[in-house]
Symmetry: C2
Subunit: 873 residues, 2 copies
Amino acid sequence: MSKKYVYLFKEANGSQRELLGGKGANLAEMTNLGMPVPQGFTVSTEACTRFYEDGEKIGDDILAQIDEKLKESEDIVGKKFGDVANPLLVSVRSGARASMPGMMDTILNLGLNDQVVEGLIKLTGNDRFVYDSYRRFVQMFSDVVMGVSKSEFEKIIDKMKEEKGVVLDTDLDANDLKKLTEMFKAHYKNVQGEEFPQDPHTQLIKAVQAVFRSWNTERAIEYRRMNDIPSSWGTAVNVQAMVFGNMGETSGTGVAFTRNPSTGENKLYGEFLMNAQGEDVVAGIRTPLPISQLESVMPEVYAQFVEIANKLENHYRDMQDMEFTIERGKLYMLQTRNGKRTAQAALKVAVDLVKEGMITKEEAILKVEAKQLDSLLHPTFDLAALKAADPIATGLPASPGAAAGHAYFTAAAAVQAAKTHPVILVRLETSPEDIKGMVASRGILTARGGMTSHAAVVARGMGTCCVAGVGDLTVNEEEKTFVIKGKTYKEGDCISLDGSTGNVYEGMINTVEAELTGDFGEFMGWADDVRVLKVRANADTPEDAAAALKFGAEGIGLCRTEHMFFGGDRITAMREMIVAKTVEQRKSALDKILPMQRSDFEGMFKAMEGNAVTIRLLDPPLHEFIPHTDEEIKILSQESGICESALKDAVVSLHEFNPMLGHRGCRLAVTYPEIAEMQATAIIQAAINVNKDGMNIVPEIMIPLVGEIKELAFVKQLVVKTADMLIEEAGVDMKYMVGTMIEIPRAALTADEIAKEAEFFSFGTNDLTQMTFGFSRDDAGKFLSDYYAHSIYESDPFARLDQTGVGKLVDMACKLGRATRPDIKLGICGEHGGDPSSVEFCHKTGLSYVSCSPFRVPIARLAAAQAAVKFPR
Amino acid sequence: MSKKYVYLFKEANGSQRELLGGKGANLAEMTNLGMPVPQGFTVSTEACTRFYEDGEKIGDDILAQIDEKLKESEDIVGKKFGDVANPLLVSVRSGARASMPGMMDTILNLGLNDQVVEGLIKLTGNDRFVYDSYRRFVQMFSDVVMGVSKSEFEKIIDKMKEEKGVVLDTDLDANDLKKLTEMFKAHYKNVQGEEFPQDPHTQLIKAVQAVFRSWNTERAIEYRRMNDIPSSWGTAVNVQAMVFGNMGETSGTGVAFTRNPSTGENKLYGEFLMNAQGEDVVAGIRTPLPISQLESVMPEVYAQFVEIANKLENHYRDMQDMEFTIERGKLYMLQTRNGKRTAQAALKVAVDLVKEGMITKEEAILKVEAKQLDSLLHPTFDLAALKAADPIATGLPASPGAAAGHAYFTAAAAVQAAKTHPVILVRLETSPEDIKGMVASRGILTARGGMTSHAAVVARGMGTCCVAGVGDLTVNEEEKTFVIKGKTYKEGDCISLDGSTGNVYEGMINTVEAELTGDFGEFMGWADDVRVLKVRANADTPEDAAAALKFGAEGIGLCRTEHMFFGGDRITAMREMIVAKTVEQRKSALDKILPMQRSDFEGMFKAMEGNAVTIRLLDPPLHEFIPHTDEEIKILSQESGICESALKDAVVSLHEFNPMLGHRGCRLAVTYPEIAEMQATAIIQAAINVNKDGMNIVPEIMIPLVGEIKELAFVKQLVVKTADMLIEEAGVDMKYMVGTMIEIPRAALTADEIAKEAEFFSFGTNDLTQMTFGFSRDDAGKFLSDYYAHSIYESDPFARLDQTGVGKLVDMACKLGRATRPDIKLGICGEHGGDPSSVEFCHKTGLSYVSCSPFRVPIARLAAAQAAVKFPR
């Protein structure tokens, strides 16, 4: 017997998310809970996988099961697919394991054709509704299944409205809509070269195929990559009996959240439109009413909905995002899912649910997406600056935060402009094609759409500020202008948005960092109680170190010293050192740098208030410190007094074919031991000085780019000799540690040897990733997009630690290192330290700490806590 | 009780090579065999290791043991160290586990001082001998122990000889030598600021320290690196009672081989000098007599020596290299060791020893150093050209082979000049400081020295042609000229050397490759019988393939296709492809290349006569195919008709920060699938065409730079689709294989996955080494010399496979690959494939084959056989 690929809603349940997708599993669960769900069936994600395995074909066995379940659905619903007398219409929706809002395509009213339409008119007596449904279906099917551009259909509608002199779709009557349908079908034939398909069964199978295909559209792949969703999951297809919100004034449709997804307030939140289909609400084409007003429109339906909403939240123990339709006064639930929410709302909901006794603290920790915290750290407007500004317009506060930037009207223009200056994306409304432009922008402004419009949902998910549905805003995308209250603004003009109030301002308003208090503090306290991994920050200045401390960092995991060579006099001394011909000349240049480095380290130690500080010795190749063009060299020579030919010689002799694989890291210390000696002197003297003031700093000196035990031993003895001499001279009892970066594959492979000399390992996963993959971050951009397009790589290995390859080396190095030195301190200081999935890996591998940029410390703290809840150790 | 660090010769034996060094162990062994060996003791290699561990100090326990063994030696010899009446003089010689000729320092006549000299004169009645010994000792001690330049002493001698109007040292009388000694001591005091040490015990300890220190001189480190000797071995020190070859006309000294080290002929071979110390023979300052003439000079001593020589060869079952001294008619053996020999001699000796029944074929295989075979493949003169040439001079045929080049007079000048043209190094005599210059030269010509002079020994070891001891040659190193029979030659003038006849020619004589026959064929047949590893060659042209086949290659392990894109029309088509903006343009350019590639592959397949051919798809980044300067672009544009701006755009868009980590290898095929398709088409069509002629080619298509299974799968399906279609179209039954390079660490780490798609692995150890170490070959040159100087790396990881790191990845990949696909074919095609120690590693790891340049195929065959003998699998 063939494997089961198709499930009636009533045959399944909410635990089958992987098989049936989130939507399918929840439809089954709601059915089991006895809620009013239009019945139907789900084609499983395994069928999607088969579809691709079979060369983008649906297998005969699966086709047979679809037929069978369609028949069973007909029996349940009491209607018949393609039957003129009593026709069953269906919606066909995608539904993956993870929610991918707006990314997958939906088809409504499937099953309509020229005959069924006649029957349906007889049945409902509502020819306007029937032709409205038919023209929608023709458009959606043409667009989603056959790839006929939606905008052409919109133009046909606009032209008809213009000819009739009306504004709203609802102003078109049945005859208009019938004519429209004929025009749509004609357009279809014109483009496709064949009639619009009239066989409902053909329509259904083509629609299912289209959903499967939509799993691999460019934008779906892009979304998955941004959200770490594997392409192997596939999508399910939900085929569900249609109910109609557009059957007249006792019909309607809406979406609602059990709590406010923007603030977390425990109050039903949402909007609805009477006489409309769901797409009207989601796409934001008409501006809907707040859900609370449904009470006065249809009190009984409202009461029933509130009851169902409460029941669902209690059942799922989380805030729910629901879609519903009212057909001729009867409520139907079309979907429920855990609601997307802002970081602020996520915190409040999590804390409230604990206080309401609904969930434990550990569960609460899992309810806030760590990455989202980022948005809490985003700027708000400087209050003083804000007071001086008057809003030029106000819209819906669709996604909190504040942003100022230059206006651009297309995603492409925004992406391009964002390379050089802050950008606000201004659109009539956004669509999934705009994703890249939205990612690149500081803020998003739309003329149309509500709180659940595409712009609003996506912006909240990304933590980007968004003001939506600004009625006073007219956008002319072709002319690249927008008009507010008679004033025209051009591309590049500056505006500011407050996503928390919905206000729009002219010009650039200064922004300030957010304060982290209230729910944040309480919630993060729970996270800190639970987590095992320590969280440190990468910081090179006392200011960064102070910020890191504020964000909860427990030490500095990586203090890069190269930046300390750049300021003012230092860079001149550094360049003197580089062009030096003898050890003595080099030492004399280094002597000038020493007091400055010492005072840098004193500043760092003081700022960290006694917390651990890991200092990395000079890492970049020396050519990074000197200019390269003749012009720059000439100027430098005049300014510094270093002779031009010496500078040019240095440029030539320091040239490298592959700087990433060149003379840098501890290789510098092998060639120029005096650099390491100077740095060790500065570090130890700084610690001695600071400890005199009552601190107890134990500096951790980190030797970078080690690939061989003897190399580490050589540089370590330079450091130890220098340090021990200084400590003895000072007559103090001070400890210090010497460790190494593990960032070269050979170091990981020989970590048992390396650990004989290293008191700690810090995984430099940026370089380790480059060398393990054999491509550099600077160059990989040119081909990685092709790799994403072919699903060869699904996420950027520089953003998300590659656990299969790089992770294997990390794991190996940890085991080997501990075998030699059981108490070895193990940390990570690549940019992965602030990426939640990488933090989880670090927890599972048993590292001591992760270190990331100060800004990402809260994310790392939460991700560490979530890892500890999921994988107790 | 303290560990034993010092051994009397009679307390030890020949098996203690690791502890006592080769010289010490053999002195012990000869003592045990009852041979006339001046007695003494050996300070062990462990004492050397202790010396460095203790910060270049000899521990008190070791000093005490030296004292003790010195006393016991006094009792054995019947003389007393420092005793005026009956003084013991000693030689102090280094002796490492492996022979390091000329690299370590020796001191003779130690124990002499102003008082002992007086006593010794009384004892011997030979004041000339005593002062000759004393002045030699002062000079050697000053040079070796205290670093006082030898040449200053030489100048003092030369000045005295000039004043006396004599030519030879032997023309100086006792008084002269006494005066010379005083002048030497005065010079010592002048330079050192203190008297020449008179206490024999101080002399001894300083000498032992100096031997230990000489283990880490730059030239010793350089020699070890060239010969793969670990620095951890250390050297032993041999302290041996002096016997004197310079005690008059019944004394003498010599060196001899049991067989001819140049040809292998089974006949005692060597030379001796009467009334001389050993250094006179080795340094080649006086030209010695053939050993056979000793028979007429001292028949009894000669007979005794022949007997000992036979006994030693039978005992060690190998050709021996012996040093002896005759003191007043009595023979003493000072050293024996397995003799260094030319490759030709090594082959003959090995084959003869088997035929004489002394050793087995397996033992014979181990007796020829694989690397040495290289020299057999070196050129000889073109006979026709040679007939037309008359030699301008003739010297000793010190190391066989032929060479033509430009004359240079210092090592440094030779190294510099060798970068651009062939070089002959011309020296009065060579010394260890000249090593780098000798390595860089095609041939070596010296005015002084015999067959066992420094120049001869080193040149034979390196397989470099050498003519030594040319009496007619006067070299003026300062003026950079040499004179032969009145004609002056300048730096840069061309000469030719025949190291097999000793002839020197004016101008450049053409050279031709050697024929490999006779002993070579027989011996290599034994090697082929024994080895398990297959040997393939890296070859890109039918000519190279034919050469590889001649050298015994069993297939092509790596055919790089990029060279096929360079010739004539191809490069223009290639450039058209690179600047193409559309897939169609690119395909049309590739269509032009296809027939040329196809015919290349047909040529390769035919040349290999049915043996396996592995073809790698295009590997280098595309920017390697276009010029980069404005000038070059302009010319190219005019020649090719490709517009200048398109070329410039390509240069800009193809620029990479780290080309090694950039857009190359299979990454090109992911971005431009049509390139891989064209190459697959060319390969398969070529195979189909050649197979029509009755061959049965199974092409092995190799996808480079893979790091991820999906990447390989993507490129593989391009190849398979293309190949299967062509095979079906042709209606033939042809097989082909698709495999991958393992050259990226991630590929090795995930080899179990990769093996699901790859039918074979070929380890690209060049890239794998770069990425595992994190440095590129092109850039590492700048700092690797510092690494060698600090003994961090001891050999070039690009020449000798790093077994610790890179080898671990190779081993891991083999195990993982076999776990998935037990019959997977495993090979190596990096340059390591021709390095004996790396071949041994490949054997031990269980690879199927190694692939190297055609020239190195015999080396790999022998190395594989040696590995099979040493590590049966």
